[in-house]
């Protein structure tokens, strides 16, 4: 019997779904073992069932499945309703991608809250004449949630986007009825750059100059970007992005910004990174946007609304 699969995207960008497609022929190989019963990007199953019945409120419902894959965080009433329905109908729920596991970039709005965000977006439009749309569109929640804040999740597969190799491993393992093998270390543990144990500059350099390296040489001949004085979040970020023997941003000679979330699921990338910098003798005040160190993991109340200043 093929494994029935439900896939849904919530507060997301579709990058996770494109990562699924980036399995390439690996996806074709998986297809005989999978029966996709719901996946809006690829197939026409609808979650609203009572189509056009007189006077009836449309009901949201999904078919039963062994596996549910959910990308995106949860930011409005419909996301929550969908998420609860997926949890109810799927035996095994996978939170796919960093928005689902830690809020991702959209959780940066958590410092102002969603109500204020919506008000600001529409206040700016049409010469300030417009109100926030309210006809048949789902109401926002107070903030952006990771999915495990609202329902029980069986497996977290972070990444922005997640590595197609790991997505394939997860689906293959589920088809074969075994536990998937996924990385547990940090980005630095997968990085071939040269580390000497000392950070050369005591001020954090903004990425307005390229790293210092010889493009004719392998990555293993390049000095660690953090030790060069660039902000690189490899030490506090979960491994998983590495392909062809190196983390993917490092392959572009660009420092890590933490898109796989914290190394330990409950970790705090901002606090951990500041600790790492301070112990390396770096002046923390030279970080221009400290909040930005939580840009991928602002859910779980890591980023929150500041109390309004009086006066």
């Amino acid at each position: 019997m093929p494994l029935r699969l439900v896939e849904e995207w919530l507060h997301s960008c579709s990058g996770c779904e494109i990562a699924l497609l980036n399995m390439g022929e690996g996806l074709l190989e998986l297809l005989p073992g999978l029966e996709i019963v719901h996946m809006p990007i690829l197939m026409d199953h609808k979650y609203v069932s009572s189509q056009g019945e007189d006077g009836a409120e449309p009901q949201l419902s999904l078919p039963r499945a062994e596996v549910g894959l959910v990308s995106g965080g949860c930011a409005n009433e419909e996301h929550r309703e969908l998420l609860e329905e997926i949890r109810a109908k799927c035996d095994f729920l996978v939170a796919m991608g960093t928005c689902a596991t830690h809020g991702g970039i959209p959780a940066l709005t958590n410092t102002r809250g969603l109500e204020q965000t919506y008000a600001e977006v529409f206040a700016a439009a049409d010469h300030g004449q417009a109100a926030v749309p309210d006809q048949g569109v789902p109401r926002p929640l107070d903030r952006v949630y990771a999915v495990d804040e609202l329902v029980r999740v069986d497996l977290l597969v972070p990444g922005c986007p997640p590595n197609p190799v790991h997505l394939k491993e997860v689906l293959t393992a589920l088809v074969e009825g075994r536990a998937p093998q996924l990385p547990t270390k940090s980005v630095c543990d997968t990085c071939p750059a040269i580390r000497r144990g000392t950070i050369e500059k005591k001020e954090v350099q903004r990425f307005t100059v390229n790293a210092d390296y010889d493009p004719a040489q392998e990555l293993s001949a390049m000095r660690c970007l953090l030790e060069q004085g660039l902000m690189c979040m490899g030490p506090v970020t979960a491994a998983g992005c590495a392909r062809r023997g190196a983390p993917s941003c490092i392959q572009a000679r660009v420092p890590c910004r933490g898109c796989y979330g914290p190394v330990r699921n409950q970790g705090n990338q901002m606090m951990d990174m500041m600790n790492a910098l301070v112990s390396g003798g770096v002046d923390m005040k030279t970080i221009v946007d400290r909040q930005g160190l939580l840009r991928f993991s602002g859910a779980h109340n890591r980023l929150r609304k500041r109390a309004r200043r009086r006066g």
Binding site: W9, H11, G15, C16, E17, I18, L21, N22, G24, E25, L28, L31, I36, I41, L42, M43, D44, K46, Y47, V48, Q51, G52, D54, P58, A75, N76, E78, I105, P106, L108, T109, R112, E120, V121, F122, A124, D126, A131, P133, D134, G136, V137, P138, P161, R206, F207, T208, V209, N210, P215, R243, R244, S248, C249, A252, R253, V254, R257, V288, D289
Partner: protein
């Protein structure tokens, strides 16, 4: 209102949308709308961030076209910081833009749209998808999967990440190209150009030839168009001037920085996506099918309608054949697909042109960047339409204001019109079924929202 038909979610599109069709007592369409159901607030969440970080944040607006947001952002930040990228920086950015364009066209045409045509709009929903194509025509499916994968991996190998890229930076690019990398890309792009020729022939024979009636009828509305052109009026997708064409064919060219003089954004109370319209026409904004006001379209159909020619030979030949069949600026909504395949050919040819330029190997990939106060408008043609990022920074080079007009949003108003046109002409006397509602969705899918 007697009844509301809900299509939720609209499927085989990139985003989160639904369709509501209101029927009157006789079962005819009283109104129909397309709703965009979510809002993430990127214009707000970027405030206070160092501007040079934006290309790595706003790429998350779209996982299908992250390169477009990435590149519109690097251009806007260049403007804020007053920096001119090195010539090679521009070449590398444009190459990545073209490669991302190629992958997007293959994805949309074959994975999202083609099941309606290859398997037929009436085929069962459970097989009317790429998995159904894999069963019906495994050779075609395998080739399409391989070609899309080839394009994605060319970008992945050269730029580190194909999805949510990082290699474009203010001032240029983060790494130079080696000779070996160029060889890899040249070989891949040649293979993709061959495939593009196959895809266009396939489209002409299997889709546009077979579905003449649908092309003439489904979702057809009359609007203006927006796209980008080079100094000679040729199609431009990475850099150019904007060209706004009114429904009668009159054109106005302007630079991206002047967009506010021509385009305003309306708010539809039933949708979280704003609806840009041509304010400079002085008509206001109306979705009335017989008397639309201020409505223009973007994306492939629009770009091919506003350009005078395409600067690469095979795509130009295809454009001439297309115009001979459908006229100089057709309004047929399903022709978005045909135009998409012509742009696929163009993007492959353009990639090869860029790779043939020796300057692309120059190690001077990034100009000096000094963060500071300024303003910048960055614009590229995204697969779904003209993409505009407009930022302002403070003395520290941090964002104080951001406005983004995303490709798809130009088509919000016209998609609402096409949905109403399709629903009204298809649903009579309360009679409809799943395959008929799928035809309404086909009118949306053409826009590739």
């Amino acid at each position: 209102m007697a009844k509301v038909i809900t299509i939720k979610p609209v499927t085989r599109i990139e985003g989160h949308a639904s369709i509501a069709i209101e029927l009157d007592e006789e079962g005819n369409v009283a109104d129909a709308r397309m709703q965009i159901l979510s809002l993430r607030g990127f214009e707000q969440l970027v405030q206070g961030r160092p501007a040079e970080e934006l290309p790595r944040i706003v790429n998350r607006i779209c996982g299908i076209c992250p390169w477009m947001h990435h590149l519109a952002a690097v251009k806007a930040v260049d403007g804020c910081f007053g920096v001119s990228p090195t010539p090679t920086g521009h070449l590398l950015r444009e190459l990545c833009h073209a490669l991302a364009f190629i992958n997007d066209k293959i994805l949309h045409f074959f994975f999202l749209a083609a099941p309606d045509f290859i398997l037929g709009p009436e085929s069962d929903y459970s097989v009317r998808n790429i998995m159904g194509i894999a069963k019906a025509d495994p050779e075609l499916a395998r080739r399409v999967v391989q070609m899309r994968q080839l394009g994605q991996m060319l970008l992945d190998r050269f730029a580190g990440k194909a999805i949510h890229p990082v290699a474009g930076v203010s001032g240029g690019f983060a790494k130079p190209m080696t000779r070996e990398e160029r060889e890899d890309l040249l070989g891949g792009c040649q293979t993709l150009l061959d495939f593009a020729g196959f895809a266009l022939d396939y489209g002409k024979e299997q889709v546009f030839g077979r579905y003449q009636e649908e092309i003439q009828e489904l979702g057809v509305i009359t609007t203006g168009f927006l796209g980008s052109v080079d100094d000679q009026g040729g199609l431009a997708v990475y850099d150019g001037r904007l060209r706004l064409m009114d429904p009668e064919g009159g054109i106005t060219d302007f630079s991206a920085g002047e967009y506010r003089d021509h385009i305003n954004e309306a708010v539809l109370p039933w949708s979280y996506a704003k609806a840009p319209y041509a304010a400079s026409w002085g008509q206001g904004f109306s979705l009335d099918l017989d008397q639309p006001q201020g409505i223009y379209r973007a994306n492939t159909l629009a770009r091919l309608n506003v350009c005078d020619f395409i600067p690469t030979p095979r795509a130009q030949a295809a454009l001439e054949e297309y115009r001979a069949s459908f006229g100089p600026r057709p309004q047929y909504t399903l022709l978005y697909h045909y135009a998409r395949l012509i742009e696929l050919v163009y993007a492959c040819e353009r990639s090869l042109e860029l790779l043939a330029d020796e300057a692309i190997l120059d190690p001077r990939v990034r100009a000096e960047v000094i963060p500071g106060k300024g303003q910048g408008v960055g614009c590229v043609e995204a697969p779904r339409g003209t993409l505009i990022h407009d930022y302002a920074t403070d003395e520290q080079g941090c964002i104080v204001r951001a406005n983004m007009i995303v490709g798809t949003t130009h088509n919000i108003a016209p998609m609402n019109m096409s949905v109403r046109q399709a629903a009204s002409s298809l649903i009579r006397g309360g009679v409809y079924d799943e395959s008929l509602l799928n035809r309404v969705e086909m009118a949306v899918r053409a826009y590739d929202p």
